[in-house]
Amino acid sequence: MNTMNLVVLTTYIGYFLLIIGVIGAIFGPMTNDPLKRLLNIEVPSMGVALIFLAYNETLALMTYIAVNSVLMLVFVRAIIKNEELEA
């Protein structure tokens, strides 16, 4: 009963982070800057990780956290290259 309550609460927190992060990444404050938009995108990513955790997908959670770190490196590299090459 107690663990069941924790699982349901984790699912709701995951959906809350997903919705808040998506709305903030589109309409958030000062999102003309691409790096700020990238930092807003990290919030729904953590929400997806919490939903993986609530459905007991351990291997998917581990792989998603590892790939998310590499994805951050690629996006930061692309943003800096775009800023260098722009006139």
């Binding site: 309550n5 924790l6 927190i13 790096l35 930092l39 990290e42 581990m62 930061v76 800023e83």
Partner: protein, 92 residues
């Protein structure tokens, strides 16, 4: 409910709202570290200790990548604006 899941849930909610509402790079990254602390606490309270160890090893790598990117981006933006204001025509 125990203390660790409760505080991890509070940390997740406050971090998620704080990343959206702050507008400076360093404040956003500090709030992101706060959110990651909540995530690791919530994974640990499900007794998935191996996933928690992997996640806590990979967390400073992402933070360091974001910090180096923010530093280089601020430096680049400042130098480019100064250069284009001094030599407006021959910049190409």
């Amino acid at each position: 409910m125990d203390v660790l899941p409760l505080i991890s849930i509070l940390s997740c909610i406050l971090g998620g709202i704080g990343v959206i509402l702050h507008t400076d790079y360093i404040n956003k990254i500090i709030m992101f570290a706060f959110l990651e602390a909540g995530l690791i606490g919530l994974i640990t309270s499900f007794y998935y200790l191996d996933v928690s160890i992997i996640s806590s090893i990979l967390e400073p790598i992402g933070t360091v990548i974001l910090l180096l990117g923010a530093l280089k981006y601020a430096h680049l933006k400042r130098t480019k604006k100064k250069y284009s204001s001094e030599v407006p025509i021959l910049a190409r």
